[in-house]
């Protein structure tokens, strides 16, 4: 578990929204580089993700943290020089066609962002073609798919198949509460997991 | 979103099943020549139907 020492990281891990906003503004005025501030925020968010995995935090804390982060990023993004730089790589993610559940996927997004990836989140009910386009456009080495409805498992398979057929050089990670190894094989995906933090470990491998 | 403003309520603290209370309607009707119970009964039934329609969109 990360050991937080920075005041801003601690404030976000403690879900103190007012303090986070005050510190972000204060540091910007003091001339701290926006990217450095983002890094501190990410450290705090990673901690929140860990606390969720160990069962100390629940969705209510995660969503609250996500909103605080959104507020802070709204301050920072306009001044972040050109975006892109400083990221460890691009990852495309989305919930497959026919399925609109996104809470689990949003956690994965948060953790990936927290570890420094540029995450292109296509949202829910995403058709295979849109995944292919986004992977191409962003030259992403990793595509992550989420599904909750058993009735959309075939939609997941279709997405994986089409991505593989497109010949793109991209690894596919599938996830969701009902996903297991059998299903990974059935779909032809490279990785699978039903734990959000596993997604980060898998990304580490892909981007190693 | 279409409508951002909150409109003011005409009534406060109405019990469930009621949109416009019979007491209010009775005042507006003034003198009732026959049996008020019959009229009240029908008023309340249709009022409860309207209530159920409104809550139907919330209880799902």
């Amino acid at each position: 578990m990360v050991n937080l020492t920075d005041e801003l990281s601690i404030a976000i891990a403690e879900l103190d929204g007012d303090k986070v906003m005050a510190l972000v503004k204060e540091r910007l005025q003091a001339g701290v580089k926006p990217l450095e501030i983002v890094k501190k925020l990410q450290d705090g968010m990673t901690r929140v993700g860990e606390l969720f995995e160990t069962g100390e935090f629940f969705l209510s804390e995660l969503i609250n943290c996500g909103e605080i982060m959104k507020g802070a990023m709204a301050e920072l993004e306009p001044i972040l020089a050109g975006g892109g730089q400083g990221y460890r790589g691009n990852i495309v993610i989305g919930t497959v066609k026919g399925d609109i559940h996104d809470l689990g996927k949003n956690i994965v997004v948060m953790l990936l962002k927290g570890t420094g990836y540029n995450v292109i989140d296509l949202g829910v009910d995403v058709a295979p073609e849109r995944f292919i386009e986004a992977v191409k456009e962003n030259n992403a080495p990793l595509l992550a798919l989420s599904v909750l409805l058993t009735s959309c498992l075939d939609s997941m398979k279709e997405a994986v198949t089409k991505v593989k057929e497109s010949g793109l050089d991209v690894k596919v990670l599938i996830g969701g509460p009902i996903i297991d190894d059998n299903f990974r094989e059935y779909c032809g995906a490279d990785f699978s997991s039903n734990i959000a933090s596993e997604g980060v470990k898998i990304a580490e491998k892909v981007f190693a | 979103m279409a409508k951002e403003t909150v409109s003011k309520n005409t009534f406060k603290n109405l019990p469930p099943g009621v949109c416009v209370p019979w007491e209010q309607k009775a005042k507006e009707l003034g003198e009732i020549k026959g049996d008020p119970e019959i009229i009240k009964n029908q008023w309340e039934q249709l009022d409860a139907f309207a209530y159920m329609y409104l809550w139907w969109w919330v209880q799902r």
Partner: protein
């Protein structure tokens, strides 16, 4: 009612009620929460059952002809898409219009209630629904008082009455001609879910818990009598069968234990106890995992609920709730869609061996059964329960 069908109806009803009363029926009852599967089986597209009330109802005739079920949950689509179009309801998307003709409907969740609405809601929710909520939810009502807006109210209310009238007639037919028994005859929600599902939305409610907890509590307090009334009104005086309560935001890991105990449970408990005091039992349809909350749920009056197991630990549920409430569940939906009949058979046998021994158990799938379930697997559930589930 033909004599043989009447006999069948009575037999099934007796079996179903006995289990809910913690008695040993002749066999373990089978109640399946079937939705889109029914359309597929009857050869209808999803567009047809969402849009055409008659086909929605007719699909159950076919189901009842082909499967021996002790209780059924009714027509596969709860919603009439045509009525949604008539009012321009924004929060559902249906097959055949925005979606391909054979896809599952979709929710479009949004905060249709804003933080500044709390006071008006608390003061008079019914009036707030009509004046503020519906104009946001219904495209056709976006300019209240206009021609289109007035029409949408007429069509909406008439549509509800039409749909309810047809359903009522359908239930009478299913009973008389097929011996079909209802799994439930009323519906209501946990006050927290009412607020969190359609009104504030998930993000909204989660932030409210931190930013305006007192308003949330006041709103829940206001909702209690409304949710009780709604349940009793939808039951139409029928008291033998349970009331359906799909439970959403109280599952693990949505709220932390403190929030659950403070915001979710007290108002829900009051609603369920009120139903029970009037003689109406609740089908506690616990979607997801409720294992951490079983001890609290055990506080409810004996027999006042049927506890449905989706992803809750069944062994824990039996240990903590068994002998107090009837349990139902939990054949995995993944198995119904991708497994083999032998696997289903083994699973059902194990459920019967481990959980049905002293009565008070109903066989069902874990979650709602959609179009992906295979017919041979549905048959395997029923056949195994019939052969192996004899007391």
């Amino acid at each position: 009612m033909a004599d043989d069908k009447l006999k069948l109806y009575e037999e099934r009803k007796k079996r179903f009620l006995a289990a809910m009363n913690l008695e040993k029926p002749d066999k373990v009852p089978v109640r399946l929460s079937l939705s889109e599967f029914v359309a597929k089986h009857a050869g209808y597209t999803l567009q047809e059952i969402y849009y055409d009330l008659e086909k929605n109802i007719d699909s159950i005739n076919k189901l009842l002809t082909d499967f021996d079920l002790d209780a059924i949950t009714g027509a596969p689509s709860l919603w009439w898409a045509g009525l949604h179009d008539a009012v321009g309801a924004k929060y559902l998307k249906f097959a055949g219009r925005e979606l391909d003709p054979n896809t599952q409907f979709q929710y479009h969740e949004e905060a249709y209630m804003l933080p500044e609405d709390y006071d008006a809601f608390i003061e008079n929710p019914t009036e707030w629904i009509l004046n503020t909520f519906l104009p946001r939810l219904h495209e056709e009502l976006s300019e209240p008082g206009s021609y289109r807006a007035n029409l949408s109210l007429i069509k909406g209310a008439a549509g509800m009455a039409m749909q309810q009238g047809m359903n009522k007639k359908a239930w009478a037919t299913w009973a008389a001609e097929y011996g079909g028994v209802p799994a439930f005859t009323a519906m209501s929600k946990a006050p927290f879910d009412t607020l969190a599902d359609t009104l504030r939305g998930l993000t909204g409610i989660m932030l409210d818990l931190y930013q305006r907890p007192e308003k949330v509590k006041a709103a829940l307090e206001v909702l209690i009598p409304h949710n009780i009334f709604y349940g009793m009104a939808t039951s139409g005086g029928e008291m033998e069968f349970p009331l359906f309560m799909p439970l959403h935001r109280g599952s693990f890991p949505f709220l932390n234990p403190k929030q659950w105990a403070e915001f979710y449970w007290p108002s829900l408990k009051q609603v369920i106890e009120a139903f029970w005091s009037k003689g109406k039992r609740t089908l506690f349809f616990a979607e997801g995992n409720w294992t951490p909350y079983l001890e609290s749920i055990a506080e409810l009056p004996e027999k006042s609920i049927v506890f449905h197991v989706d992803m809750t630990d069944m062994a824990q549920a039996k240990k903590i709730l068994g002998g107090r409430f009837c349990l139902s569940g939990n054949v995995p939906n993944m198995m119904l869609a991708y497994g083999k009949p032998e696997e289903v058979r083994d699973y059902v046998k194990r459920l019967i061996d481990e959980y049905a021994g002293d009565g008070g158990f109903i066989i069902d799938a874990a979650a709602v059964i959609q179009g992906d379930a295979r017919e041979e697997n549905i048959r395997a559930i029923i056949e195994t329960a019939r052969e192996y589930g004899v007391y």
